[in-house]
């Protein structure tokens, strides 16, 4: 196994970023579970697993804090 490089200057920043990405995935899972339950309650088809805009919003937020003006946070066009 090779050691992952560190890119961010602050102590633990790279590990914290990894955790943030994992946390975002789990938020997406929870949102998906809620959407499935709502669909079942309403008699609709379950939602697609790819119906999420969380990562683009996270990236915009992170780069926004560095002073850039990123693009839209709209849903990805597959």
């Amino acid at each position: 196994m090779t050691t992952a490089p560190r890119y961010l200057g602050e102590p633990h920043a790279d590990a914290l970023l990894s955790g943030l990405l994992l946390l975002t995935q789990e938020v997406a899972v929870l949102r998906h579970r809620c959407a499935v339950l709502e669909a079942e309650r309403d008699g609709r088809q379950p939602p697609s697993p790819d119906d999420s805009d969380l990562m683009p919003r996270l990236v915009d937020e992170l780069f926004g804090r560095l002073g850039t003006t990123q693009g839209t946070t709209g849903k990805e066009d597959r």
Binding site: Y7, A28, V59, F63
Partner: protein, 386 residues
């Protein structure tokens, strides 16, 4: 057999490590992150470079940055570049981890499937004594935790299952539902144009991994005997199961493309798809010499690889080179600087038959010019006739 597609478009076949709905949600988050970085952040970095860094460099030195290495030194301290790099690296690591979790959950089924594939048309010939080249052992290529070759269970297929699903997520589906775009691009973008109506009797695909590019040759040339080699047993076991699931009669063998062991003049067509950048300069020369030895008179060699640096501007080169050190692709940059035409001539081919051209691919992410990491919708073809 093939069936429906996953929600993200990957074609389902019996050997695929199909994610659960929640595994798919996690994998989709990584997919979306990768697209965001490639399609929005990389172009933003280019704008920053062109509007701020270049003018500053011109003011201080009288000229823009000379090459990709100077650009790298100028971009490295930039907080946006560092965040971009951190997100790309973590997304790559987490992508493999997510797919590996999904593949491991299905491992018993995949092992049974691979064991049962022996009755399907085609064959599998493994050589446990074959030495894995150092250039594949030295690092976890493209951060893939199994590498191509590591085994974790008897007759393991984990690395192959990981690669099949992982490549689809990595490429954002742009290699097609069966990840077979590179094979079809060579067939349609080169062979059908340069050798229309040709019917090669025996075809060899070198460095086939799980056979993504091999299977199209069985469809385009159904009368041909199609062989495919790789050094990695887990890839080949999975490739055999996958080809059986797709109904493709391929003869897989564990052999090194630098010294295959096949008799002279065994094949009419010798091909590879993005093999060269996974090897070394020495190995590339050996692969070309072996291709020459294996071809029958009138036969054709085609090695498809990512575009060379001389087809893109310095900033695109800089973005491409990111993978060399940050995505564990030690030969990713070097192969783009080689004079492959001269190397083919050194390997024995008549220089008059050797040429290089760029062919279009189905990849939608447009060019290295706008931030794609692999050369966008083009592929370099090195071709030569015996």
């Amino acid at each position: 057999m093939t069936g429906a597609a996953l929600a993200d478009g990957q074609t389902v076949h019996d050997a695929l490590a199909v994610p659960t709905a929640e595994e798919a949600v996690r994998q989709n988050e990584i997919w979306t992150l990768k697209r965001k970085l490639a399609e929005e952040i990389a172009p933003e970095l280019r704008r920053h470079y062109e509007t701020e860094i270049v003018p500053r460099h011109v003011a201080e030195h009288g000229a823009p940055p000379a090459d990709r290495r100077v650009i790298a030194s100028l971009m490295a301290p930039d907080p946006r570049m560092r965040l971009f790099s951190a997100l790309r690296r973590r997304s790559q690591e987490q992508m493999w981890d997510l797919v590996l979790t999904s593949a491991n959950r299905q491992l018993d089924r995949l092992l049974d499937l691979a064991a049962g594939a022996s009755a399907a048309p085609g064959s599998l010939d493994l050589d446990p004594a074959l030495e894995i080249p150092r250039y594949l052992r030295a690092v976890d290529i493209h951060c893939m935790p199994t590498g191509y070759y590591r085994e974790f269970a008897p007759d393991d297929v984990t690395a192959g299952a990981l690669y099949d699903r992982g490549v689809y997520v990595y490429a954002g589906g742009q290699l097609g539902g069966l990840n077979d775009d590179k094979g079809w691009s060579v067939i349609r973008g080169y062979l059908d144009r340069h050798r229309p109506g040709w019917t090669p009797a025996r075809i060899l695909d070198m460095g086939c991994s799980v056979g993504h590019s091999t299977v199209p040759y069985t469809l385009r040339y159904p009368a041909a005997e199609v062989h495919a080699i790789d050094v990695a047993a887990p890839m080949l076991r999975y490739a055999r199961a996958r080809a059986a699931a797709l109904g493709a009669p391929v003869h897989f063998a564990q052999r090194d493309a630098t010294a295959t062991g096949y008799p002279d003049a065994s094949f009419d067509l010798v091909v590879s798809h993005i093999l060269l950048h996974e090897t070394s300069v020495k190995a590339v020369q050996q692969v070309l010499a072996e291709s020459y030895r294996l071809l029958r008179p009138g036969g054709l060699m085609i090695h498809a690889e990512y575009p060379p640096f001389d087809t893109m501007d310095p900033f695109a080169q800089f973005l491409v080179e990111w993978d060399t050190t940050n995505n564990n692709e030690p030969f990713w940059s070097k192969v783009r600087t080689l004079d492959l035409v001269a190397m083919a001539a050194t390997a024995g081919f008549d220089p008059a038959t050797v040429h290089r051209e760029l062919i279009p691919t189905g990849r939608r992410l447009t060019t290295g010019q706008s931030g794609s990491t692999s050369g966008g919708g083009r592929m370099q073809v090195l071709a030569a006739s015996r």
